[in-house]
């Protein structure tokens, strides 16, 4: 299987989509990202990433229900596909391996460091 390349931001969006588990749509992903990573995220960037992921076949989408707060417009709900899960897994594994290889003296960090 060809290694799909994921940009860092795309990866974050994909992860967030996975975390939100069926509740992921533009606004919710942006909010979640902001909460988790602490950076301000433009809704446009999130959208564009989501649609790129859609193109790459890493997420699926379907139109969800309409709500009053959206002026009666429906949401597009994104869910992670099998391929998406694979990629996330792969990335996670690669990172882990690399962390393992860090010489302990280089800097005082524990693997699994959390901000």
């Amino acid at each position: 299987m060809r290694k799909a390349y994921l940009g860092e931001f795309e990866e974050l969006v994909l992860l967030t989509t996975a975390i939100l588990n069926g509740e992921a749509y533009g606004v919710s992903v942006a909010k979640e990202l902001k909460k988790l990573s602490g950076r301000s995220v433009s809704i446009a960037a999130v959208h564009i990433s989501l649609h790129r992921l859609l193109d790459k076949g890493l997420v699926n989408s379907h139109m969800g229900g309409a709500t009053m707060s959206r002026g009666g417009r429906r949401k597009r709900i994104f869910t992670v596909t099998v391929a998406g899960k694979h990629i996330l897994q792969e990335i996670h594994d690669t990172r882990n391996q690399m962390w393992e290889m860090l010489p302990k003296t280089s800097f005082n960090l524990e693997p699994g460091f959390k901000d």
């Binding site: 533009g26 606004v27 959208h47 139109m63 707060s69 002026g71 417009r73 949401k75």
Partner: protein, 883 residues
């Protein structure tokens, strides 16, 4: 959308922008997300900040790379079928709604035709004298007079013999000069003698101006007197061909009675002067100035011709004018001294240059002294205004009718939208329809212009031809006109129609929401324009009427004028005796030919420019001009013919005389000889009424000689008198050309321009009203159609036909009446401006406003009531049957 509470909304333009740029399949989610975010942020950071964020977000979406290669979520619409369908539908609509198509097409084509004609006209006006290769370096020498103390300035463009040669030799930038003087020659052909205007000019004429010669050498044609260059028309008339170089023409100076017919060799035949030329000549002669004329420095102040100069390319006008001033001050010193001493001329003269191409439309320094066709730019403005009015009104018709009629098309629009036509497509469709219509109108307009050109040429004194149409700029202009008209007419309806909500249109009967203010405003605008033009026409008519019927202060009825150069007092006396033998003749009065003006000094310091007439005792009685003080010339006082003068009341006013009789006048024409005033003549309009009464002075000096005579006859004897007059004239003056003109007809000629413009403006006004009314007719038809049910119910409930007609017409009449509020002040102001052109003007009458209002309301009423009566008389059972 949610209408029930006013929650803060994101900026509308941003949303619109997003809707326009964003792929349709994404619009819902993105719009929704943005909305959701916005509403949250309103809570968090306040509405203002949230709006800002919203805009920024939208702008981020607009990045070109934001959405690339989208997978198509919806299947694509079938464009080609759609467009074919549009065209079919457009043509079908045109065919089906005959009345509206005719209203729109006729209105638009009339409007376009008017605009095209005016384009032609103004193009011709601004193209005057631009065909010379030496432009823009050709200038005319003009003068400015500055009164002592810089109190006032006047300008003129007259120069004399000296200016050309002296400036050309003293100012390095001046490369060549050409003097152009109008003169008259009697031309002999067999036994026929015709008096003809000829032009005297310098040898450089053909190198300065671009007038191609069909035969002859332009460099030498005017070098060797006695030579003559004639036009091709003249050559054909006299010799029957244009190949006539070397033939001779017999000419005689019309102004000099001692001259004989002399042979002139034809050295060139010029092509007919272009119609947009201020110089139009049939006969050109080399100008001959005697040496003592050049030596006499007083001739700096003797001006009667045009002098043109050619400057080096890129010469600085200001510095050339400064050099000219130095040259003049140095050369004319002696002349100035003599003039100041003898006549108290204290005006300072400053010479200036006027671009040749600037002359045609210049009111201050017009084309004169033999230059023709000087034109008032005001007429270009008036015409353009009318043409634009007409076109605008036609476009308004289109807009109103299309929008009003669209109710019937609402279902079509709804269906299209449901099937998947989006707004842009609908806009394109409706614009396309308006362009189709516009195109038909455009083709018709070209035909109309063809038809109207001969009449228009006659009215505007031009020789415009459709070949003018093949000028690149004009063609571009016309294409632009077509596009602008199409857009102007089609854009608004397209926007309105494409915005209909399909659900509403397909469900039950659809009504235009709102009060339709735009339609009302447009109708008001239309009728404002129409009323404005009617007012204008009335004013122009009454002013014209006033000009032609105002008391001139003399009686011009039954008076014939004949010209006879150098009529001596003796000949005049003989002529009078001969004529008065016939009882049909009442009186004969000789007068100097042409217009003579000169300057007099009064009490040493008042300087008066006045018209200087040479007459005898018969002149004033013949015209019934009263003497208000003193007496007329009389044969009983022999001194009258040498030292007495009469002056008019204006002269007395200017001279500030308390008691004019016996006052002394000494004037320039007769080196310092003093004259005594013996009588004051009542002011009368000896010139056309578009000029003010000037000071006038009469003498009886026999040495001046006469140039014409007025003959008063008994009414009803015209034919026999004219025969007798011609016989007597030919008997007494066999070598003079005989021509006569009735004074009253000559007076009317002064207003020919006004008469023609009056007709053009009247025509424009009629068109405007016509187009406004067919528009109103269409609207009335629609409104009656829309209210058929209402009318039916009203009738069933017992309303009379009259009350229904009232109901339907009242709406429109309200609008029409409302238009007067705007039209009248504007018309009043514009007319005041126009009347400023006339020293003797009518007041704008109250009745003109009332008449205008009456006419407009009546015409509108008839237009609307025609439809209303039809609608009101329908049997209500018919239109209430279905629903």
């Amino acid at each position: 959308m949610n209408h029930y509470h006013k929650s803060p909304q994101p900026p509308k333009w941003a949303t619109t922008l997003l809707e326009w740029r964003c792929p349709d399949e994404l619009l819902e989610e993105i719009g929704g997300d943005l909305q959701e975010l916005f509403e949250e942020q309103v809570e968090e950071i306040g509405e203002k900040q949230a709006r800002k964020e919203y805009m920024l977000a939208v702008l981020r979406y607009l990045q070109p790379f934001a959405f690339k290669h989208q997978p198509k979520i919806y299947p694509s619409t079938n464009y080609t079928t759609m467009f074919q369908n549009y065209i079919t539908v457009a043509l079908r609509h045109l065919k089906r709604n005959r009345v509206f198509s005719i209203i729109n097409i006729s209105g638009l084509s009339l409007g376009l035709a008017c605009c095209m004609l005016i384009f032609l006209y103004t193009k011709d006006e601004v193209s005057y004298d631009r065909f010379h290769d030496n432009n823009p370096n050709i200038y005319r020498i003009t003068k400015k007079f500055i009164k002592p103390g810089n109190s006032s300035e006047s300008k003129d463009s007259n120069t004399g013999y000296l200016q050309g040669p002296i400036f050309a030799s003293g100012v390095p930038e001046i490369q060549s000069f050409v003097r152009f003087q109008s003169h008259r020659r009697d031309i002999k052909l067999g036994n026929d003698i015709n008096s003809q205007e000829v032009f005297l000019t310098d040898p450089d004429f053909f190198s300065v101006f671009t007038f191609p010669l069909l035969a002859g050498n332009p460099k030498t044609a005017l070098q060797e007197p006695p030579s003559v260059v004639i036009s091709e028309d003249m050559a054909r008339k006299h010799f029957g061909s244009t190949d006539v170089v070397g033939k001779t023409l017999l000419l005689k100076d019309s102004y000099d009675s001692n001259s004989q017919f002399e042979p002139y060799a034809v050295t060139g035949v010029a092509r007919k002067s272009p119609q947009n030329s201020s110089i139009k000549f049939d006969v050109l002669l080399p100008i001959i100035v005697k040496n003592d004329e050049i030596a006499n420095k007083e001739n700096w102040f003797n001006s009667f011709l045009n002098t043109f100069v050619v400057l080096q390319s890129g010469a600085d006008i200001k510095s050339v004018e400064a050099t000219m001033d130095r040259v003049y001050q140095a050369d004319a010193k002696e002349g100035m001294r003599i003039i100041a001493e003898r006549f108290g001329m204290k005006d300072k003269t400053v010479y200036a240059l006027q671009p040749f191409t600037d002359m045609h439309l210049n009111k201050e320094l017009p084309a004169q002294n033999g230059l023709v066709d000087s034109s008032n730019p005001m007429f270009s403005y008036i015409l353009s205004g009318i043409a634009l009015f007409i076109l605008l009104i036609a476009c308004i018709n289109f807009i109103n009718l299309t929008v009003a009629r669209s109710l019937k098309r609402a279902k079509e629009i709804g269906v299209r939208k449901v099937i998947g036509g989006d707004r842009t497509h609908l806009m394109i469709q409706f614009l396309g329809e308006s362009f189709v219509l516009c195109f038909i109108a455009f083709v018709l307009a070209i035909l109309l212009v063809q038809l109207a050109l001969p009449t228009f040429n006659q009215l505007s004194n031009k020789a415009l031809a459709l070949s003018y149409l093949f000028d690149a700029k004009l063609v571009l202009g016309y294409i632009g006109l077509f596009l602008i008209t199409g857009l102007l007419a089609g854009f608004y309806p397209a926007v309105v129609l494409s915005s209909y909500n399909p659900v509403q249109t397909l469900y039950s009967r659809f009504k235009l929401s709102g009060k339709n203010y735009l339609q009302k405003i447009l109708v008001i605008l239309q009728f404002s324009l129409a009323s404005f033009l009617i007012m204008g026409t009335l004013t122009i008519y009454s002013q014209f009427n006033y000009l032609t019927t105002r008391e001139l202060g003399y009686d011009d009825k039954n008076v014939i004028g004949i010209s006879k150069s150098n009529l001596t007092p003796k000949e005049a006396q003989l002529f009078r005796q001969e004529l008065l033998k016939n009882p049909a003749f009442v009186e004969v009065a000789p007068k100097n030919g042409g217009n003579w003006y000169t300057i007099a000094k009064i009490n040493g310091d008042i300087q008066i420019n006045f018209k200087y007439e040479t007459v005898d005792q018969a002149y004033l009685p013949l015209f019934n001009i009263p003497i208000v003080q003193g007496r007329n010339f009389s044969a009983d006082f022999p001194a009258d013919s040498t030292q007495s003068v009469l002056v008019n009341e204006t002269f007395v006013k200017k001279a500030e005389w308390k008691d004019p009789i016996g006052q002394e006048v000494n004037f320039w024409y007769d080196n310092n000889q003093k004259y005594k005033v013996i009588g004051v003549v009542k002011d009368h309009h000896f010139e056309a009424l578009n000029t003010e009464i000037k000071p006038q002075l009469f003498t009886m000096k026999p040495s001046n000689g006469y140039g014409m005579a007025f003959i008063k006859i008994k009414p009803g004897t015209e034919t026999s008198s004219l025969n007798h007059l011609e016989k007597t004239y030919k008997q007494l003056f066999p070598i003079n050309p005989y021509s006569y003109e009735f004074k009253s007809e000559e007076n009317l000629k002064a207003y020919e321009a006004e008469a023609k413009w009056k007709q053009i403006i009247l025509f424009g006004t009629v068109l405007t009203i016509f187009i406004s009314c067919i528009g109103l007719f269409g609207l009335a038809t629609l409104s009656a159609e829309r209210r058929t049910k209402e009318i039916g119910i009203r009738k069933v409930l017992g309303a009379s036909v009259t009350s229904i007609v009232q109901l339907l017409t009242w709406d429109f009449l309200k609008l029409v009446s409302f238009s007067f509020l705007f039209a009248f002040p504007a018309a009043w102001y514009a007319m005041q401006q126009w009347l400023q052109n006339y020293p003797y003007q009518v007041d704008i009458k109250d009745w003109a406003f009332i008449l205008t209002a009456g006419v407009v309301i009546l015409v509108a009423f008839f237009t609307v009531s025609f439809q209303s009566i039809k609608a009101a008389r329908i049997n209500p059972a018919k239109n209430l049957r279905s629903e």
